[in-house]
């Protein structure tokens, strides 16, 4: 490897910096569902089409497993060329340890400061004036995905909020449908719960809870209501839920076996792959239609320093590709997410995406992702708690709430 680096460096000196070398960039990501595969293929194909460099795909199902693999590789001194993370604090130690490729020169040349919006999307990558990662999309983590035929069959209108869903659930049940489809992995449960927090508490209070760890709110009766709603939903879920992937869960809505799934807008990728039409086959509904919101979750890629200058050049090329307007449009349409820049041709966007973009326009509707404030250690504790609460009907709500408050009180 070292030898190769030396040869490459000599060759660079010899031929000048314009020479092209083939380099492999290994990318670890967790995009394994149908819609996600279509999306990641946009990146891979567009990158491969640029020249000799190759995208080397390492897909590992489930975010925590993929991140674990990346972390093991980092610890072992063999990091991949690029790796997917959620924006926020998941990679703060990697930056501090100086393991990441500094993207600042590229970002300045392309004016990322100007084009990436809203600010809350840029912030997790743009730290103290330096760019450490590439934001590739904005994912709103909480929508209600509803099957229109299912609600027709039950003879009720589409729900306008989570509590409205709870009210209509018995009708769906009578019609032999699963009123509420929930995947059993802890991150899914925590994400749905997080969405209900925003819908029930409102953005202001929710921020004080998760950002400032406000104990008054954590112990308030309003927050109790969130737990109550979540337990109500449990009653209307199906026994196949434990361990089920999110996309297999989406499939239940997609095939009209279930009424609603609460999931991020990546679910749209699955509907897209299946050829379903928004407004006809399925509907995307805000968790609270009276006060719609979008959250600014999403995905970022960071690039690890490598010895080989040819690889580094390829990494920068990949970073640039990911954020370029054309790729942003293609990728986000496939993925179901919103582009990180405004100057993108979104004529391909469907009604659901347009609705999201519409809500995004008003800064008052934009909810900062909790990942920006909470470490993975803290998020993990919440996931454990919420998963336990969901699975164990005997767990008193008061206990769960108290433990949630304690996690926040001791959060780092």
């Amino acid at each position: 490897m070292k030898k190769f680096a030396v040869v490459a460096a000599m060759a660079t000196a010899f031929l000048g910096s314009t020479a092209v070398y083939a380099a492999d960039v290994e990318v670890i990501h967790w995009w394994t569902s149908g819609g996600e595969q279509a999306a990641v293929s946009v990146f891979a194909d567009e990158f491969d089409a640029l020249g000799e460099d190759k995208w080397v795909d390492t897909a590992i199902a489930l975010g925590e497993n993929a991140r674990a693999a990346t972390m093991q590789r980092v610890l072992g001194g063999d990091p991949p060329g690029a790796a997917q993370f959620n924006p926020g604090r998941q990679y703060e130690e990697l930056i501090a340890a100086g393991l990441l490729l500094d993207l600042t020169p590229l970002a300045e040349a392309e004016g990322w400061d100007e084009i990436v919006r809203p600010d809350v999307i840029a912030e997790p990558c743009h730290i103290d004036g330096k760019w450490w990662c590439v934001p590739v999309n904005i994912h709103s983590e909480a929508w209600m995905w509803a099957s229109i035929p299912a609600f027709k069959k039950a003879g009720v209108d589409l729900p306008t909020s989570v509590s409205d869903l709870v009210a209509k659930a018995p009708k769906l049940q009578e019609a032999g449908l699963i009123p509420y489809a929930q995947g059993g992995e802890s991150w899914q449960l925590n994400a749905a719960f997080g969405g209900i927090i925003i819908a029930e508490l409102g953005i202001e209070q929710r921020d004080q809870l998760l950002r400032d760890h406000n104990q008054d709110i954590a112990n308030s009766p309003e927050f109790t209501k969130v737990f109550e709603t979540f337990r109500e939903l449990k009653k209307y879920s199906d026994p196949g839920s434990p361990g089920r992937n999110w996309n297999d869960t989406t499939n239940l809505v997609l095939t009209d076996q279930a009424g609603v799934q609460i999931m991020g807008d990546w679910a749209r990728g699955e509907f897209g792959v299946a050829g379903k039409k928004p407004g006809v086959d399925y509907a995307c509904l805000p968790l609270d239609s009276a006060n719609p919101f979008v959250t600014t979750g999403g995905d970022i890629f960071l690039f690890f320093k490598q010895d080989d200058p040819a690889v580094e050049a390829a990494q920068l090329k990949l970073a640039s590709t990911m954020i370029s307007p054309r790729v942003q449009a293609l990728f986000n349409v496939a993925k179901g997410s919103m582009p990180v820049r405004d100057d993108v041709d979104m004529s391909l966007a469907d009604d659901c995406m347009k609705l999201g973009l519409e809500i995004l326009k008003d800064p008052a509707n934009v909810v900062t992702s909790a990942n920006n404030w909470l470490s993975n250690d803290t998020t993990g504790q919440m996931q454990d708690l919420i998963a336990e609460f969901w699975a164990n009907d005997d767990m008193p709500i008061a206990d769960a709430q108290k433990r949630y408050a304690e996690i926040l009180a001791t959060a780092d």
Binding site: T32, A61, G76
Partner: protein, 305 residues
């Protein structure tokens, strides 16, 4: 207790039973057979389910007939599991993992047994003070929960720049196989009559000469046991494979898990079951071919105690 496993009792499995004398077909005989047959059905049921599931199409699987023979036989799931099942954009099925596992198992087994045989030989002469502590440590090594050593081991491989390479996964298997295999060989060599060694010594044979010309040929049975133990152990390993093998050397068990956890809409149980059978094929073949040796291998594995 360490010598127990290699004492005659372990190998006596191959001899005849000694229980109560057989009688005519009495009620108790029927009871014995009924119990055994019922137990056998329980043990066979999953294998049957695996096989029939892997030969069905998805629509038939959703008809909820776990045990039924497929009404429409298809080998599609097998082909898919071996050749085209996807994790991410890689759609090569299990076959790269199969060859990786073959490589890892062959090389890993070879080195761990050669080294353990030499260790066991050398240690069989060491009956001085400290031997007890050493064996205590060996036992301990055979018992240590892997999770305790994994983190420092990752950092260690980083130091020597081997993390995620083929040598790394081999070294890990050799290290973790060493305590048990060394005990196995040491106990075997100790059980040999010391006159053998003395006679050779008188004839002027050196330490290594004795090892290669006398000890090694005699240790064929124990080596077979060790091979069986290591082959199944390494082939079935999951944890080390995920952590240390690296992308290019990913063993079959890890790939199997990746394929199974990757779903696009519905769990393709038929493909999953075909994939599990394929992954289990090698240890099962070892098991059925080696027959009674396998039982001995397990009894020898009891050296761990």
């Amino acid at each position: 207790m360490t010598t127990e496993a290699l004492s005659p009792s372990a190998s006596r499995v191959v001899e005849g039973p000694r229980g109560a004398k057989p009688k005519r077909l009495t009620i108790s005989r029927i009871g014995v057979y009924a119990f055994l047959v019922l137990a056998a059905l329980f043990f066979l049921m999953p294998l049957w389910v695996m096989v029939v599931t892997s030969l069905k199409g998805m629509p038939e699987i959703q008809m909820r007939n776990l045990f039924a023979w497929p009404s429409e036989l298809t080998f599609e799931p097998w082909i898919k599991a071996w050749d085209t099942a996807c994790t991410g954009r890689d759609c090569n099925g299990l076959k790269p993992g199969f060859w990786n596992s073959i490589k890892i198992t062959a090389v890993g087994t070879f080195f761990s047994i050669v080294i353990a045989a030499m260790n066991g030989y050398a240690l069989s002469f060491w009956r001085y003070k400290g031997a007890n502590i050493l064996f205590g440590l060996l036992l301990f090594g055979a018992f240590v929960p892997y999770q305790v050593v994994i983190y420092p081991l990752i950092l260690g491989f980083r130091q020597v720049g081997l993390f995620g390479t083929f040598p790394a996964i081999i070294i890990v298997h050799v290290i973790f196989g060493m305590p048990i295999l060394t005990l196995l060989f040491r106990n075997f060599f100790v059980s040999l009559p010391p006159e053998l060694f003395k006679a050779a010594r008188v004839d002027g044979a050196g330490f290594w000469q004795i090892f290669f010309q006398i000890m090694l040929p005699m240790s064929v049975p124990i080596t077979i046991v060790a091979v069986i133990l290591q082959v199944t152990g390494i082939w079935n390993d999951f944890l080390f494979g995920t952590v240390f093998a690296g992308r290019e050397n990913m063993p079959m068990t890890v790939q199997l898990n990746n394929i199974v956890q990757t779903t696009t809409g519905v769990r393709e149980y038929n493909v999953h079951m075909a994939a599990t059978i394929l992954t289990a094929a090698v240890p099962l073949a070892v098991y059925f071919i080696s027959g009674k040796w396998f039982v001995r291998g397990i009894a020898a594995g009891a050296v761990k105690g």
